[in-house]
Symmetry: C2
Subunit: 220 residues, 2 copies
């Protein structure tokens, strides 16, 4: 296989869909399906087939008319793009109900994603282990990030603590943050923050259900 050049003219909207494509292709592959047509794939993942064809075209000549796409080849391409064979060492900050739930699950369906340490300010739980993951004092963040080789942080802290914790994360050298506090935070340009806001998702869902019944809600 030709190596795929990273960053090479992959539009952002396409890049964003790659993890979704990858997941479904793996499912197909595990089910023994080695070829799929764009219209079938479209029905499966609920993305227009024109979008799929356009996206896939960025990765070379991958589909042939009447034959469809080669599933194992696409998995290889996307796997290289997503670097899924390389372990991602994750720190979780905020060992409350949601934090504990994520630690107990620990992305068990994705062997390369590993929460390896957690952090909290509450001295009552520091030193505890949840699913074999130690809870460290948040003041030790920078030290443990280096020691454990953590490159990504999940923040499950209350909104009013989020900016202070984010400042500590920035100081630790971590540049990728998945944040469950909905409040937009101030971060320098090189820090990537993905916000997951369950309340807004729910309000949007209800709002659509009541007003736009029957329309497509897909955000990806």
């Amino acid at each position: 296989m030709e190596p795929i050049k990273k960053n090479k003219a992959i539009p952002k909207a396409t890049a964003k869909r790659i993890p979704l494509y990858f997941r479904y292709l793996k499912t197909l592959d595990q089910s023994g399906i080695k070829r799929i047509k764009s219209n079938e794939f479209s029905q499966m993942i609920q993305i227009p087939s024109a979008t799929i064809r356009r996206d896939f075209s960025h990765f070379g000549e991958l589909g042939r008319s009447g034959y469809g796409y080669d599933v194992p080849y696409l998995i290889e391409v996307f796997s290289e793009i997503l670097n899924t064979d390389i372990e991602k060492r994750i720190g979780l900050i905020g060992v409350g109900n949601l934090g504990r739930a994520l630690m107990k699950n620990n992305f068990r369906r994705n062997s390369n994603l590993n929460i390896v340490a957690s952090f909290d300010a509450n001295s009552m739980i520091i030193g505890e282990k949840v699913n074999d993951i130690e809870v460290y004092d948040i003041e030790k963040l920078k030290e443990i990030v280096r020691k454990e080789g953590i490159t990504t942080v999940i923040m499950t802290v209350p909104s009013d603590k989020a900016q202070r914790v984010m400042d500590q994360v920035i100081d630790s050298g971590v540049t990728a943050v998945l944040n469950f506090a909905p409040k937009r935070l101030k971060v320098p340009h090189h820090i990537q923050v993905q916000y997951i806001d369950l309340t807004t998702e729910l309000q949007t869902l209800i709002y659509y259900d009541e007003n736009y019944n029957g329309t497509d809600l897909s955000v990806l």
Copy 2:
């Protein structure tokens, strides 16, 4: 105030941003800020000011040059649109780690969003209460949905159970589903499903961090 006609020419992309606008305007209002200019609001919520001005224009003549937008008025408009004074009665299906975390939190910052009942197939936990919310047998879903006036369901069930549970939800008459299982499900046209896929969010974040450092990840 002129009543806002629902559905009246509000583009979907605009509709989607309303819950976010609403949240920030409430924060401003609570801080005593009653007027805001679109460029200031833009910085706060990280949405381009041209987008904000275009969105707000759908709700009438709300901003004046040099004066900005009237915060309490906008809250009134969006509140009516989002129906936030009306209680939304929510059922949660799948009382595992994530389900329990959501029940313990129960959207406490949003008094109109209430998880009023939960459901599971595990006889060991049926009858239990989590944060005063009873765990019912999933086979009683239809009955409890009617009795409790549930209009929205949150699904925190394993992927391999998701389609079967969704079929039961459809049968119960609920049309709005927030689903934490990433697998796309088969649903009739009138059912609204919002997928929250934490693994894909995380993979996308890491992928962006490694490849597109410094670009905007905002999805809303």
